[in-house]
């Protein structure tokens, strides 16, 4: 088997395992969706019916829901490996470490995007915003932002998996490192919800894509050290 073939096969095995475990346990996705709905409801009640005010804060609120939900998912992404010392088994696995990373990343992106697909309509209804007309543009921003956030988040989740204070350490490390991704995502979403086309937000999209590429190259390289130390 070629080296690339083996990486793809191992990546797929890891993603399929994570998805199977989640479909049976339903711990991660349920917690993510409940939390996202809670955030949207609470801010909806807090901000009241003022349409202008809602329009101003809506992009930030949407990404607040996305990112906090994603954080919950990331924090639990190595839960199955912590149980029964499965992490040790992964350490003894021959072959590249990148496929473990990419397998975990694919699962994290998948779960976060599943949550986002349910959050977005709820957001549109609660905040009286027409998200459907802008759906392709919003989806593009969501994909770029989610990949950037999850790419470094997966690395940090592995790094903090064995810490007692992992629930605190993960957001402490992750949010400062993803400031460019968060900024780009919120600004691009703001412009799109205000009626701007993709052309108007192209500079933000380039920034997001750039960070995604940098993280996608650097994080797998760092993952081996994280896993072994």
């Amino acid at each position: 088997m070629s080296a690339i073939g083996e990486v793809v096969r191992r990546t797929w095995a890891m993603t399929r395992k994570d998805v199977t475990v989640e479909l049976r346990a339903r711990e991660r996705v349920n917690a993510m969706l409940f939390f996202a709905a809670l955030v949207l409801f609470i801010f909806n009640f807090a901000l009241g019916p003022d349409r202008e005010k809602l329009r101003e804060v809506a992009p930030g609120l949407l990404w607040l829901a996305f990112l906090f939900t994603g954080m919950l998912g990331l924090a639990r992404s190595f839960q199955a490996e912590r149980e029964n010392d499965c992490f040790e088994e992964l350490l003894l696995t021959p072959g590249d470490r990148e496929s473990i990373y990419f397998g975990k990343l694919a699962g994290n992106v998948l779960f976060m995007m599943m949550a986002e697909a349910l959050i977005l309509p709820l957001f549109g209804i609660l905040y009286n915003l027409d998200v459907w007309a802008q759906l392709p543009s919003l989806a593009l921003v969501a994909v770029l932002g989610t990949v950037g956030f999850s790419t470094i988040g997966t690395l940090l989740a592995a790094m903090t998996a064995h810490l007692r204070a992992r629930e605190v350490m993960l957001p402490l490390l992750l949010f400062p490192l993803t400031v460019p991704v968060i900024l780009g995502s919120v600004r691009a979403t703001e412009a799109i919800l205000s009626g701007g086309g993709l052309g108007e937000v192209s500079h933000w999209l380039k920034l997001l894509a750039g960070f995604d590429v940098i993280f996608l190259v650097a994080c797998p390289l760092a993952f081996e050290f994280v896993l072994e130390e």
């Binding site: 399929r16 475990v21 049976r24 029964n84 010392d85 003894l92 021959p94 072959g95």
Partner: protein
């Protein structure tokens, strides 16, 4: 004389301020079953993890299965197996899925027939689709042995393998270890269960405070002598914690 399967010199491991393993030399020949004895925190597990390439040594080196311990880690990992007191299995997967996942991560293609055969050999026939969460501890340990049968490692590392096993599972495990050794492989067992160690091993290495304090072969050594030697050499080291 055949090449040793393990030949390491001066293996040292430091965790922060703690010297976990202090210049350990070890040689394991084909066909040998070596028992690493010692109290909790002596450094037995650390030595196993170093030999299994799960962690890197702070100093020292050598060869495992003819490969350099540092440069040949990937090749070593393809030829070893680890049975630990944790079973390294996923509770929300079935027995079949656990074995398929472990095989895929090792880059192995295994057929359903091979999996069913391995499950049958460990007394888990008909349990392939049983979710691990519903398995008893003994069944999970049997599944680990089944996994080893699939992987067929040449060198087996066992860390307190008899914990929580019933008599039938102990017999199965000991039989499997003996079969690996009889095929020209070897096994290294970390334990502080002296009677089990005496039953399965033919060489004994006592580790105390991270260093080897004595070693002996089974020739002429009775179980009683082993207990006496252990008591003499391990005495007073129970207070050292955190390195096993």
């Amino acid at each position: 004389m055949p090449d040793p399967l393990v030949e390491v010199q001066g293996l040292t491991k430091v965790f922060g301020p703690t010297l976990a393993l202090d210049a350990v030399d070890l040689r394991v020949d084909p066909g040998a079953v070596v028992a690493l004895l010692g109290p909790n925190g002596a450094g037995k597990t650390t030595l196993l993890k170093l030999l299994a390439t799960a962690i890197k040594p702070s100093a020292g080196g050598g060869r495992v299965l003819g490969e350099d311990l540092l440069k040949g880690r990937d090749r070593i990992r393809r030829r070893i197996g680890m049975i630990s007191h944790s079973h390294h299995l996923y509770d929300d997967l079935t027995a079949l899925e656990n074995l398929q996942f472990a095989a895929a991560m090792r880059g192995m293609r295994v057929t359903r027939g091979a999996i069913d055969k391995a499950l049958g050999e460990v007394g888990l026939e008909g349990q392939a689709n049983g979710k691990l969460r519903t398995f008893s501890t003994g069944m999970k340990r049997r599944l680990v042995i089944g996994k080893m049968l699939l992987f067929a490692p040449e060198l087996l590392f066992l860390d307190e393998p008899h914990n929580t096993l019933d008599q039938a599972a102990i017999a199965l495990l000991d039989g499997y270890v003996a079969s690996v050794a009889s095929r020209g492989g070897a096994a290294i067992v970390a334990t502080h269960n002296l009677s089990r160690a005496y039953g399965m091993a033919d060489h004994f290495v006592l580790i105390r405070d991270g260093a080897v304090t004595w070693r002996a072969s089974k020739d002429g050594l009775t179980a009683e002598m082993l207990r006496e030697l252990y008591a003499r050499h391990a005495e007073g080291s129970e207070t050292v914690e955190g390195r096993s």
